[in-house]
Symmetry: C2
Subunit: 469 residues, 2 copies
């Protein structure tokens, strides 16, 4: 019951007052309590109602983060790390009040080791800013969740996005983090070796922990060489099933596609209108190939053959950078295109992920569900990973509409889990997916709780997320 799950919890008022006082003394006007700024730090593209923090602090460095954690630990008040606020499941809400730590001032590149294809950055830098910084090195950071998210936020939600099908997710591209944990000291989870068997994988424990185990203060990332050639295009299909089956065969054939994105007919109509495009209003795949000119050519031809076998009539292919950028800008603006379908409605943007062989089954069944229940809900997806999103438009002021939306999300998640999938491929749990995580993990959820209790005994780090304690 996604929307009903959120209720503000008990607040530690005395502790909060004391902590606020000390924050004011220590950080001056880098500690803000105005309502507008607090609202901005709880407001995201999420469908979940905002729950404001009591204040927002803007640290400059890891030592200041240690100070903030020490104050919060002493007075037992919640700390919620904030990157750019582009998370989708209520991750940055403050159901028990507390202090939002805005990482935007910690946005430096600390080190680039071009010879080792790695770099270390502060958590507040965005992925676009990082790639601008890297431009002259011949390297780039490939993970692209669409939004211009912060690297710390991307690490915390185990983000992925359009080209994870080729380059992996944050799980695969974070070499190490430093984080301030409950003891108010900064620890480092690993060093720069490409692989290690040195004890528990603390790096992967922080990646995807949604800020519940500590505050990330730096991230060491793997980088990739900029491909010699990039080409891509748009391919229309008669049915969504045909598009999905083309994806399945592309992946099973081992074509190292860099991006293969599914958009259903409703999304194509919305994106055409919003982004001023004129593609056919039928299910489509947006694809991109990276490599040497020979390799890109070979991949394009192999893919075009598969697409044709599944009835694709048109494959508009281009290696022109401007055209390519327009295409991916339209893909990245999918959310805003959805929104433009009915500006007065809210969007419940949710994701699931299934084994690739079940992608067509899951997407087709979901589309039948949408039709049968008379919903407006475009589907877009990182189809090569078996991951897709539904952007359900609903009236968040109307109880019946909320119930309908909740029931749809429940059916969607049950469907994905029944296919050996997961309730979230990349958005994370936050508040919105908590009941589905329980269904997915069963008794294993207790292990997560045990880890949380061990590392954050006073539950100060982003409480009320992932699981109820």
């Amino acid at each position: 019951m996604a929307l009903k799950a959120i209720k503000p919890g008990l607040r530690n008022e005395a502790g909060m007052d004391a902590a606020m006082q000390r924050m004011r003394e220590r950080f001056g006007d880098r500690f803000q309590t105005g309502e507008a700024i607090r609202a901005q730090h709880a407001h995201t593209t999420t469908y979940i109602p905002a729950q404001l923090p009591d204040g927002v602090v803007f640290p400059d460095n890891a030592r200041e983060v240690e100070t903030i954690v020490a104050i919060a630990a002493q007075h037992r008040v919640p700390l919620i790390a904030f990157g750019t606020g582009s998370s989708l499941e209520g991750h940055i809400n403050a159901p028990y009040g507390g202090i939002s730590i805005d990482m935007s001032r910690m946005d430096k590149v600390l080190e680039v080791n071009a010879a080792d294809f790695d770099c270390t950055v502060q958590p507040g830098i965005t992925r676009e800013a990082l790639n601008v910084y890297l431009r002259d090195t011949g390297l780039f950071f490939p993970i692209d969740p669409g939004a211009n998210a912060s690297i710390g936020g991307m690490a915390s939600t185990r983000a992925s996005g359009t080209n994870a099908v080729r380059y992996g997710t944050m799980k695969d591209n974070v070499l190490a983090v430093t984080a301030v944990t409950a003891g108010a000291k900064e620890i480092r989870t690993a060093h720069r070796a490409k692989k290690s068997s040195a004890g528990y994988d603390l790096t992967r424990l922080f990646v995807g922990a949604e800020g519940t185990l500590g505050i990330i203060t730096s991230v060491t990332l793997r980088l990739q060489g900029i491909p010699e050639m990039i080409a891509g295009g748009v391919c229309s299909f008669p049915t969504i099933g045909a598009a999905c089956n083309a994806v399945i065969l592309t992946i099973q054939s081992g074509i190292p596609v860099a991006r293969i994105e599914l958009l259903d007919a409703v999304q194509m109509r919305a994106s055409n209108a919003y982004s001023g495009l004129s593609y056919p209003e039928s299910p489509a795949l947006f694809v991109e190939f990276h490599g040497s000119p020979e390799s890109v050519d070979l991949q394009s031809r192999q893919f075009a053959e598969i697409a044709a076998d599944f009835g694709s009539s048109v494959f508009i292919s281009t290696s022109n950078t401007e055209q390519r950028n327009a295409l991916w800008k339209a893909r990245h603006n999918a959310y805003w295109a959805q929104k433009s379908l009915a500006p007065a409605l809210a969007i419940l943007s949710t994701d699931v992920c299934v084994p690739i062989s079940r992608l067509a089954d899951c997407v087709e069944a979901t589309q039948v569900d949408i039709l049968e229940h008379g919903l407006i809900a475009p589907i877009v997806g990182h189809a090569g990973d078996g991951n897709f999103h539904v952007g359900l438009l609903f009236d968040d002021k109307d109880a019946a509409d909320i119930s309908k939306a909740e029931a749809f999300v429940e059916r969607l998640n049950a469907r994905a889990l029944a296919m050996d999938g997961t309730c979230t491929g990349e958005h994370g749990i936050g508040q919105g997916k908590m009941p589905f995580l329980e269904a997915e993990m069963g008794d294993a959820l207790d292990l997560m709780r045990q880890v949380k209790r061990a590392l954050d005994p006073d539950n100060i780090f982003n409480p009320g997320k992932i699981f109820a304690m």
Copy 2:
């Protein structure tokens, strides 16, 4: 102080007697206490003196593992999971006594999903047996640590080996595990979706935990398509530095080499003698390329150019399967070839891993160290990952020789850590690397201990490994 670190701890004698009695009642002759079988379950290719368990139990299924854990938990006696005994740092020793769980009867393939490139196996199956089973599917499991290890053991040490440079390590190739944890119930860490953001990464927590958090009862693995073509060869270099620099440039050039293994001159002499080969007795790279015929050809040519630039005079290349197998058999027998240099001596086989740009520095400094101290210590390495091994021959009955060996290992680890590397790229910590893990992790080691305490409060799972509690 690797060898000195091992001292048998306090034993829970009363609990042990009671647990042994219940094991006998429950498992009959699948519970063994003879000295030979106990010795076999503590003896490995490790240099660390054996510490025998009190008994060895052979479960048939996960329900029986639950029973074993319940008995051990009730009587607070150690449980040590055993695969094939090929670990190198004393992982399967029983410093506090306890019961070895031999997984060899749990060696079934439970499920192959060829369409999703995954399979689920019991932990006792070996990697070679799995690949024989998969032969007709067109798929293979790529991780190859040399020894014919069990999949459960490989998951537990976060194993990698010769072709991790192309396919990643166990961290990248385990999709999920089931494990029996301290509550004596089996949990599942994840499902079969290719990616997930559903809460803490419990899969990666069990991968590399060396059996200290629970007993793995099944492993879901990613598989790869068998390459259309495989070719490789041996390439000799005038100096070890030249060989390392050829590796560095190969990786930095983005050549997707499948294997690139370094063997120093001493190792080449030993391997020639042991495996009946006649390669030049100078530093060499063993390489392998996977892909389409065009791609393999391109990779081979690109690599040969780089090798020539670094003074390689000979590149004996072959796509003949028999010749290739002979080559890799010689590589896999490196340990036994080392042993044949001085059969009366013990081998301290140790590994470190550094960022690729530091590989030549680290290997060269290590070879100077070996020469200066008059040691016999061939170097072999998974050079493409910056990972190398030293097989130090020493007299394990001679206190002075032991001290010399320990001092060398200390210097080797300090050198790797100073280069932002790790004290183990793939062997794991076990008992032998405990002091170096402390040096590497600093305060972060406390987080590992907190996780251990939370998930195994009575310290029954493989106590005395990774860290002192």
